[in-house]
Symmetry: C2
Subunit: 212 residues, 2 copies
């Protein structure tokens, strides 16, 4: 986390540093980016940098937090629009989300982020459902907006687990999209195919005794 000193900075200087960092992180992934370049880009002395951030990662995760799509609301709206239907809601959400990432002005930054995403980065990208859930807000809770009637889900926790898993799958799919240089549309379709697999299963359901 950046120090208080960083937030005390004049907006001009703070933005200058952020822009200089984004330039570097858009050109190179975390492990290749250098602080030397960032301070050169933003015309800030090396010593100052270390007064604001602990190290390169500290700055990087701050930027991820700043520019990532906070998809909680995006999900909420998508599920509401599709009247709580799991498959349709998630499909709509994923389409919007993929577009946000892949058509963003910050394309280079996100591209490097996804291509070098590991578990630590993955965690930073994800939003904490649990946190949002316990802290009462005026907004509706995500899990209340999803219709569970036609899902094989017993507890709220299981639904949360599934949501978390779907999100990490979505991120994996975007990673694959960047790697294979897929278009937005192709990436969306790749995800939708997987969404279908998981939602409806790949096994043909056995005919229930009672129905025969």
């Amino acid at each position: 986390m950046p120090t208080q000193t960083f937030f005390n900075l004049s907006e001009e200087k703070r933005e200058r540093l952020i822009a200089g960092a984004m330039k570097e992180f858009s050109a190179k992934p975390l492990n290749e980016a250098s602080i030397s370049n960032i301070v050169k880009n933003s015309e800030i002395s090396r010593g100052s940098f270390y007064q604001y951030f602990e190290d390169k990662k500290d700055l990087y995760f701050f930027l991820i937090g700043k520019f990532r799509c906070n998809y909680h609301n995006l999900m909420l709206k998508s599920f509401q629009e599709k009247k709580g239907d799991f498959y349709e809601g998630f499909k709509l959400f994923s389409e919007k989300y993929v577009m946000y990432i892949m058509e963003s002005k910050k394309f280079g930054f996100f591209e490097n982020m996804y291509l070098h995403m590991n578990y630590q980065i993955n965690r930073e990208v994800r939003v904490d459902f649990k946190g949002k859930q316990t802290r009462p807000t005026k907004d509706e809770r995500l899990i209340d907006v999803i219709n569970r009637d036609n899902l094989k889900i017993d507890s709220e926790n299981e639904l949360l687990d599934i949501l978390k898993y779907f999100l990490s799958m979505l991120n994996d799919t975007i990673m694959e999209g960047f790697w294979k240089e897929l278009s937005v549309k192709e990436t969306q379709n790749l995800f939708i195919k997987r969404l279908e697999w998981i939602t409806y299963g790949i096994a043909i359901p056995e005919k229930k005794e009672g129905n025969v």
Copy 2:
């Protein structure tokens, strides 16, 4: 890929280098590991290193290829043992595979690999089904050993896509296991839960008209 010079080396020297590299990569992830340490560990001159490998990554990917579980046969045997049943076969395979990774002598190496796995590393870990498939061997083909009768799968390609997806999901789960410091058993169960989701779906199947 290592140069020919590397393979011309005496076995003693080659093993010395591999051991020195494994020591470093077991202690530190790829981006923190240093060539300086590796050449120190293996008592090889810096110049020689660059005669064998292009850079650190070149060596790293060679080691992954050397020590990764070539799971093609493991899958084949698992599916054969379970008479081609998708769910049971994959379950058995995943249990063996997780155990191989997490109880290996190379634990530190694998741990760092999984915790810092990105798409590039992920690709190196995966076996190329397509390659194995076209090259005719005396072994049975994996896709022939899986019973497709009770799967919603039309083409061989779709089955391959699903297999690839399940494998990357398995690797993700192992990554999560390392991150959360889960036991072998817990990691296996986490995967099995997801395997169940995807195989049978999370949606309750609608009753077919014909059956009512």
